[in-house]
Symmetry: C2
Subunit: 304 residues, 2 copies
């Protein structure tokens, strides 16, 4: 068990309120005065969650996007957010960060309501937190509701952000759709609201398709089979479509597509790609080109 | 204008939703589905907001307390909070921090609902954010509502935490009520709920009585006179009661008492000490032992 897992166990012993959902989900659900609120908070740290050379506007965008993606997975409508910002000592950098944050908040109609600004000691890594509040618009899907026989879908191809990260590491000035996928993820808020009333389970794919699908299977008490790994044409143009490329794409994090379980008789109400199915049992099976393949040692990104 | 002020100006240009209240207050007010929510977020950074040698349980307590104090100033009832925690690399330190946080949350009946845990790069300073959500229980006081003729009150003596900080700097093992005031502030949640329906203006004293009173006066478009600086017997035992001691106490931060304006004809509904009055005009006047004294160069703690 990692230090983080042990810390989370301690946190669970404090977070005993039903609204905390045992910290088993990415969000908390707070019912108050007739409103059903979805609460989430995500922190980004320089050198951990982004590259120091990433453009500051993109970091601002991404901080908003990762939080909004948690709301999307619950079918929630953005209601407001609070920013905790550590001044970097470089005013122009900070201003550009805010520009990117503003673009994302405007794009997704998420009001910035307040927060806190602190000055860090010299040479401290930059870090930022955003707390996002959403309002449930209908049923609130959990990651634990999949049923045997359900199909598993994802709202778009996977792996683009992972390859984008590799390309950005090689050259901070690189551009194109894969870099864009890594630096400016597009949370699926509209899709989340449309899907929430129909899905049995839903979550965002932030840590890799294999890892997140296995989490949905475990939370639902089911076995899950992944039999298709959807790649974008941009990714195939750079990496081809070999089994190794497919596995790498399914292990890569930062995609922020939605992953959901739907009864086999139903068609998704938004554009989505079937990637697998649930059945009685436990564990993850990976099938590529019709044949079961051994699972990689690590299924995805354990952060962090 | 400081870098932080310029950054806040940029933030204000983004935070245009009415719920953000122009970022002029310590909190945001979000009305949603019939609920009136008070939102606040405070970050504590090692070496900036606390001493590296402070006991971790006290740091955990204080992180909760500073956020709860913002709710107290609005007469809000705690509804839930989210923790953003940077693992320190020292598991026993982290566990003790959580113990202190838990004590404060239990004491004030504030449920921990979720959050995010990150691992910082080596040698990064520790930092933590808490976002607290409260539910308004009645009228929500602003800092801007004082009227000419109102009396100004504070719920307890000021300056204890400031002297506690000085003592803690001299010896990390020091103990006693002043150290306790610095490390384990007691936000006035019950007092805030009882006062909120009656006050014209209210805020917590986090940056020093002089600075916070001058802010209330400026926000209300009034002149404010401070004619009494209440000192605790613990502080007087260490520092005496000279004019210099009184001014130092009125400039010290971290008290977390409530400061409020009440019509002269009303008596406060909780224990409180009269410290001044509002009148037409602008600016802060300080009166000690019946005579106006020059204001110190810095009125309090501009953070940070």
């Amino acid at each position: 068990m990692s230090a983080e897992s042990r810390f989370l166990s301690l946190l669970r012993s404090i977070a005993t309120d039903p609204a905390a959902r045992g910290l088993a989900d990415d969000v908390a659900l707070l019912e108050i005065g007739g409103a059903r609120l979805i609460l989430t908070s995500d922190t980004m740290v320089e050198g951990v969650h982004y590259l120091p050379a990433d453009p500051p506007a993109d970091i601002g965008w991404k901080l908003a996007a990762v939080n909004l993606s948690d709301l999307a997975a619950k079918g929630a409508k953005p209601a407001g957010c609070l920013l905790s910002y550590a001044l970097s000592g470089d005013e122009s950098w900070d201003a550009t960060f805010l520009e990117g944050l503003k673009e994302a908040l405007n794009y997704y109609a998420m009001p910035l309501l307040g927060g806190d600004t602190v000055t860090m000691p010299p040479r401290a890594p930059r870090s930022y937190s955003l707390t996002a509040i959403g309002e449930a618009t209908g049923p609130i899907p959990a990651r634990s509701g999949a049923r045997a026989g359900d199909r598993l879908y994802v709202t778009g191809p996977v792996g683009d952000a992972g390859v984008g990260l590799e390309l950005a590491r090689l050259s901070s000035g690189a551009a194109g759709p894969l870099i864009e996928a890594f630096r400016r993820p597009r949370p699926r808020l509209a899709e989340g609201m449309l899907l929430a009333p129909h899905v049995h389970a839903m979550m965002d794919v932030s840590d890799g398709l294999l890892l997140d699908a296995s989490r949905m299977g475990a939370a639902s008490g089911l076995a899950v089979t992944i039999d298709h790994i959807p790649l974008s044409s941009a990714l195939e143009a750079v990496r081809g479509g070999s089994t190794a490329t497919q596995i790498a794409a399914a292990r890569a994090g930062d995609d922020y597509e939605l992953l959901f379980a739907l009864p086999a008789r139903m068609k998704p109400s938004v554009r989505a790609i079937p990637v697998g199915r649930f059945s009685a049992g436990a564990g993850l099976t990976l099938v590529i080109d019709g044949a079961a393949v051994p699972l990689p040692d690590s299924l995805g990104w354990e952060h962090g």
